[in-house]
Subunit: 329 residues, 2 copies
DNA sequence: AAATGTTGCGGAACCGGTTCCGCAACACAA
DNA sequence: TTGTGTTGCGGAACCGGTTCCGCAACATTT
């Protein structure tokens, strides 16, 4: 079954290629020919060759999505949202994974440009000068999710505000001896903004805060939990920068026989689904990853359409108050 | 910065387009011209236009991957494995999500064929005649993961054997009153094979088994757990068809004040990472999703290369004996 | 009736590669 | 020296679309 080409259609219908092309792209075509082409195309199941189209137009109906990892809850949910919306609008999502290597983000920016994607959605972790350089060089709309930069359209989570809100709640509940388990400052949103939001709330209440640093990996957080178990008497609350970290810390604490929230409270951040079904369920901040993905797709489509899009857009957040954090009596 | 074309290169180097093309594709080129082209191409940063290439060759360096959902642990890990290997070998992964709609799987088979992907890796849930029809029609190598069909190269998990092995372990430990929480038979691997493997082991030991059906969603499993809590005295073990179901059941039990494994044992299946860090940690079967993804990429590459690949390949499995299942005293 | 404007359509060039074919230059054997 | 075989290279056609240009037929205005 070889490919039916526009030339075949033209011959069968007894017209020129150009007429068929015009018919397909809404040019001026007479009633009689239109009807004939209608029929011929239906009967032959003709589908235009996308390469030939792209070769001429230097464009595709693809949106590149750069993700730091494929196996993260946030990335998965965001991709779902993006895909949903893009599919509706006749675009396709082309996911590229950078396996957490910054260098590959930059490579992929250029690479996607070479592939002539219509736009790029970038789930950022850290933004460097070289990123910005690449973005400016490729001349393709780029939308940054999760981080922010003045030169790039950004869709960001209110990390600072959410952390502040949750932190305030905790101090209202009487927590004064707190450990904050964070990640590297290289990640502005998570490493800095979340931490600073919490710190602001905690300092306002005069709480005592200890800072500990770990990575995004669950395994690395387990020893942190075990370590914290030793100094458990002097702390009432452990705030974790992500739900995964909270999970690891909880495990570490459990390994040492510490009970949550009886002996100490623990909170997370991110709002992964499973935090609700754990026992104890985890107090956390829910970030709307999926909806943000969908929103980013909308914004990208607007950018492509030439509409005006604000350089910086915030998403909402929602506190999830659950069992793992207790009030101080 | 407009695209440098092969014609530009030819003109700068003072040769014909065809010579440049031959140079690029390893044809016969003289030493002097080779050196000249070497230099010109390096200096101009020339990159061939992929559309023009594909237009002629009717092929791309893309492998389509059809997944039922983007936010599943198994799918994410498998995609990671696929992507790793494909990237190494100069191919790209093109993920398409069917949002669990069988109809869209078939659509996407045709669609990917239209896009001239070199091959398709399909994370299957159910295999129908229409799937097979599509696969035969498109004339592109297809590799099925997780399900099996005689007409399609399949890479399958040993669901039956693993379930049998785990079930046997449970009966050795003395469990005789068991509830099996499964899913619809539409999914052969999960809905039938896993169940049947467990049933074989349980029946061999003369155990009494109650079958309950739910879906793949955590939320749906919670009420199941709550319901089971009522009949807890007559059951010593609840076997769940997936780790997610186990998670939901555990939550349902916890809601009713049932303690695991003291009051009842619970097991999962799949071996998601987080099952290890929960408290209690969940006894389950680990399936090597990521490695399977990598393996599937290897097999696909072999298929493309024309090598012989067995129609059916099994992966390994590994029992993860942990806290959530106790021996009967 | 002549002048002008529309509309529908065909021809040809173009997008940027690959490949087939044939010719010229050269090396080597007879 | 002539004949045969390689090797390197250029020209042209081709992949399957889109688009520009111009012509012919018809409609409209004066």
């Amino acid at each position: 079954m070889k490919q039916v080409t526009i030339k075949d259609i033209a011959e069968i219908a007894g017209v020129a290629k150009s007429t068929v092309s015009r018919y397909l792209n809404g040019g001026s075509v007479g009633k009689a020919t239109r009807e004939k082409l209608d029929r011929v195309i239906r009967e032959t199941n003709y589908e235009p060759n996308q390469f030939a189209q792209s070769l001429k137009s230097k464009q595709t109906k693809m949106i590149g999505v750069i993700v730091p990892r494929l196996d993260s809850y946030a990335a998965s949910r965001t991709m779902m949202g993006i895909d949903e919306r893009l599919t509706e609008r006749g675009y396709q999502m082309l996911v590229v994974n950078t396996a957490q290597q910054t260098e590959r983000e930059i490579e992929q920016l250029y690479n996607l440009a070479k592939q002539k994607v219509a736009g790029i959605i970038w789930l950022g972790t850290t933004v460097t000068e070289r990123h910005i350089e690449a973005i400016e060089a490729i001349q393709i709309p780029v939308l940054l999710i999760g981080q922010q930069h003045d030169n790039v359209h950004s869709l960001v989570y209110p990390d600072y505000e959410a952390a502040y809100a949750l932190g305030t709640r905790f101090t209202e509940w009487g927590h004064r001896n707190v450990v904050y388990v964070g990640v590297s400052e290289v990640d502005i949103a998570v490493g800095q903004n979340r931490r600073d939001g919490f710190l602001k709330a905690l300092h306002e209440a005069g709480a005592h805060v200890n800072l500990v640093q770990t990575t995004f990996k669950i395994e690395d957080a387990i020893p942190v939990g075990e370590q914290l178990a030793k100094e458990i008497d002097s702390t009432s609350l452990i705030i974790c920068a992500t739900d995964n970290i909270a999970l690891g810390v909880l495990k570490g604490l459990a390994n040492q026989g510490i009970s949550v929230p009886n002996d100490v409270s623990v909170s997370g951040f991110g709002g992964y689904d499973f935090t609700e079904v754990l026992h104890p369920s985890i107090t956390t901040v829910h970030l709307p990853y999926r909806r943000t993905g969908a929103k980013s797709a909308d914004m990208m489509l607007q950018l492509l359409h030439g509409d005006d899009v604000p350089m910086k857009t915030f998403t909402i957040f929602e506190l999830k108050v659950r069992e793992s954090v207790d009030k101080i009596k």
